[in-house]
């Protein structure tokens, strides 16, 4: 007890501490940074590995790519609930991080067996599903609610810095190893392990001393739906998810343009992440000052801009840079800010469950939006589909604005 008092006198947030970002947020940010380097390395090389390394045919690739585990959504919810119920958010997040780390070695072990690679990817995704809700819950529990926007901004900056670095690290490893994919997998595993170690050593679990009446049960979790503010946020997040076309489509459409056809695919992700990492913290701080709802909705307006730019009059590099910048603005203004909003309305005891619920709602909405966009593309062509998507975003921004304004008044 003496030791720990001497050891962390700054841990107790005083007047000054309120202006600072808690050490726990930085620790979680560092874990995310390191983990994202690891996972984005794989994201950058896996298509090349499958198609060039394994000579996978289009249909086989489609099978792998189509692996969507509905179980991931369920696992996310279950993980969130268990984390709240046992008050062990760090442990649940740690299981998620560890699963994904081990799966990097799984890629090595799977060799070139398509079935095994598919299983490895599914478990990797399950790990990702498991860890994000407890991580975000820990951020909200480590931060005064007035500073949530900034805290998430800092976290997302560190997170996207990892995503930005991942493809570059992969390139470096490939050139060092004379194009060995196995070396990329091994390096990715080493980096992911460091992420798990950082989590174990530096992230502090937040446990509340809850009164006996606030027990976490299925019934109290279901009660989240009864809370009007939570319900409105869930509806808003799902509605906005419904009009968000996956970034895969955006990058694909960018590459469909003849004038950009030779641009390396990973460059598109790296460019988006650069804008994201530069803007996440300023936007988070702005959200704390002027309100989280306007900043988040502003991000969706930027997304509408992306859709319009894809088939706008602008071409070449200016178009590419502006599109990636707006895409980065979209992420910077929405992803962390939504969690900051959630942190403000969800009860502490059910913070992880609530966050998992909102993230699941949005993930399912993304799935529906991808299907809808595919259908729209098929029937109306890509240009019209993008224009319709832009209009849908703007209408939803307006509707969501009204919906969330109610919350502020009630």
């Amino acid at each position: 007890m003496y030791l720990s008092t001497i050891d962390r006198p700054k841990g107790s947030a005083g007047e000054k501490g309120r202006r600072r970002i808690g050490a726990n947020v930085f620790a979680l940010g560092a874990v995310s940074l390191v983990t994202d380097i690891s996972s984005e390395m794989i994201v950058a090389v896996l298509p090349v590995y499958l198609v060039i390394g394994l000579n996978l045919s289009p249909a086989a690739y489609g099978v792998l790519d189509g692996i969507y585990t509905g179980a991931t959504a369920l696992l996310r919810l279950a993980g969130g609930y268990v984390a709240d119920r046992t008050q062990r958010r760090k442990l649940v997040a740690g299981v998620g991080y560890s699963l994904s780390a081990v799966m990097k070695l799984g890629l090595l072990a799977a060799g070139r067996s398509v079935g095994a690679i598919g299983a490895v990817i599914a478990v990797d995704r399950a790990g990702k599903g498991l860890r994000s809700a407890p991580r975000d819950a820990l951020i909200t529990l480590s931060t005064p609610s007035a500073d949530l926007g900034r805290a998430f901004g800092v976290h997302r900056t560190m997170d996207s810095a990892g995503a930005f670095l991942g493809p570059l690290v992969a390139l470096a490893v490939l050139s060092l190893s004379a194009q060995s994919f196995d070396a990329v997998f091994v390096t990715s595993f080493c980096i992911a392990s460091l992420g798990v170690l950082l989590l174990v050593l530096f992230v502090r679990d937040q446990r509340q001393h809850l009164p006996a009446t606030h027990t976490v049960s299925i019934r109290s979790a279901a009660g989240l739906f009864g809370d009007a503010a939570v319900r409105r946020l869930l509806v808003a997040a799902s509605l906005l998810g419904l009009v968000t076309v996956g970034e895969g489509f955006v990058y694909l459409l960018l590459q469909e343009r003849e004038d950009l056809s030779i641009v390396w695919f990973p460059v598109l992700a790296v460019g988006t992440n650069l804008a994201y990492l530069l803007l996440a913290t300023p936007f988070g701080m702005l959200a704390d000052r002027v309100g989280r709802v306007p900043v988040m909705l502003g991000g969706y307006v930027a997304l509408a801009g992306v859709y319009l730019l894809l088939f706008g009059p602008l071409g070449g590099w200016p178009m590419l840079v502006l599109t990636l910048l707006l895409h980065g603005v979209f992420y910077a203004a929405t992803d962390g800010v939504l969690m900051a909003l959630a942190g403000g309305v969800l009860p502490e005891a059910l913070r992880t469950t609530g966050i998992a619920l909102i993230q699941t709602g949005q993930a399912l909405a993304y799935l529906v939006s991808s299907v809808l966009f595919g259908v729209a593309w098929q029937f109306w062509g890509a240009t019209a589909a993008c224009q319709v998507a832009a209009v849908a975003v703007l209408v939803t921004v307006f509707a969501t604005g009204l919906l969330l304004k109610q919350k502020a008044q009630s």
């Binding site: 198609v51 390394g53 099978v63 190893s177 060995s180 460091l194 895969g248 593309w377």
Partner: protein, 323 residues
């Protein structure tokens, strides 16, 4: 773990980072040493003759068709996928991890044409006369956790220089009706002897069709479904292809031969799942790449009438073509 001092935790982290970095860099450097450049032989050639062209360790090589166990003729021509016929070779080359180019070679191995190919190249073919060249590349493949893929298949007429960069611009007739859809993907072209018509796979609406195309009129029409990666026999009457087991690619593929007259399908003696565009090594033998569970490719041959047992032709090689 908060019972450890901050200093202790930082020390552990630094030590672990150093150990992990040494491990990762050591592995990468060791992997590098395994990748040695090929020892080339002067007599490598792609002129027609009783030989087999393969890609071995990323480089073109030929082996004797009569006795594949004899030493291979190795070249220093780097390709991820290749094919040759009628004295014309096509080589899809990796220039960097995400940039690829197509190279057309004449019988003297001189480059007659080359251009960048968008996406990740996957299939290559040359017509039997050596005039028409085709390739397939994945365009999408942005990441492994977002859905959807997209292919781009192109055809080049080496005599006129005409190029169709994507078959997706061709007019489609599906089951007799004009058809248009955004989800159409083509792959795996095989040419007929007239250097105009061709066969290919067309995927749309969850189905994988065999289509016949016409390069001059820029049209394709469906013939039957569940046929992938067609390869036309030298006499033009049969198509070797891979057939998804129970019509579902999740289950893997069996090699089969389709009679174009009767649409009768004969399953070949190869019982393992084969994910490759087969190649006719003669009028009655099909060559293909088998990939071991550890990923090592090898070139095999089996009888086109479904009889006999498959036999191993070349170890550690892929992308076979009969010269």
């Amino acid at each position: 773990m908060s019972d450890l001092s901050l200093r202790g935790r930082v020390l552990i982290t630094v030590a672990a980072a150093v150990v992990l970095a040494i491990g990762a860099v050591g592995y990468a450097v060791a992997a590098r040493e395994k990748a040695a450049p090929p020892v080339t032989s002067d007599s490598f050639s792609i002129t027609p003759g009783p030989r087999l062209l393969v890609v071995r360790g990323r480089y073109l090589a030929t082996v004797s068709a009569d006795d594949p166990s004899r030493p291979a003729q190795q070249s220093a021509i780097s390709c991820v996928r290749a094919y040759a016929a009628g004295g014309t070779g096509v080589c899809l080359r990796q220039d960097s991890m995400w940039t690829y180019s197509l190279h057309v070679l004449d019988s003297g191995l001189a480059e007659t044409n080359s251009f960048d190919v968008r996406g990740l190249p996957n299939r290559a073919r040359v017509s039997s006369s050596g005039r028409m060249v085709s390739w397939t590349a994945f365009i999408s493949g942005e990441s492994y956790n977002k859905g959807g893929f997209s292919t781009r298949t192109g055809i080049l007429d080496t005599r006129t220089g005409d190029v169709a960069k994507s078959l997706e611009t061709f007019a489609i007739t599906r089951d007799g009706e004009p058809y248009q859809a955004a989800d159409v993907n083509f792959w795996g072209v095989t040419f007929t002897a007239d250097d105009n018509r061709f066969y290919a796979t067309m995927a749309t609406d969850g189905l994988r069709y065999l289509v016949q195309g016409d390069f001059a009129s820029k049209t394709v029409r469906t013939i039957t479904d569940n046929v992938e990666c067609p390869s036309l026999s030298p006499d033009g009457t049969r198509i070797a292809f891979k057939q998804a087991i129970d019509d579902n690619p999740v289950n893997g593929w069996r090699l089969a031969v389709l009679d174009l007259e009767t649409l009768q399908v004969t399953t070949l003696a190869e019982k393992r799942s084969i994910d490759d565009q087969p190649a006719w090594l003669s009028g009655d033998t099909i060559g293909y790449t088998f990939r071991d569970s550890d990923g090592t490719p090898s070139v095999w041959a089996t009888s086109a009438d479904g009889s006999g047992t498959p036999r191993l032709l070349v170890e550690n090689a892929e992308s076979p073509a009969g010269l």
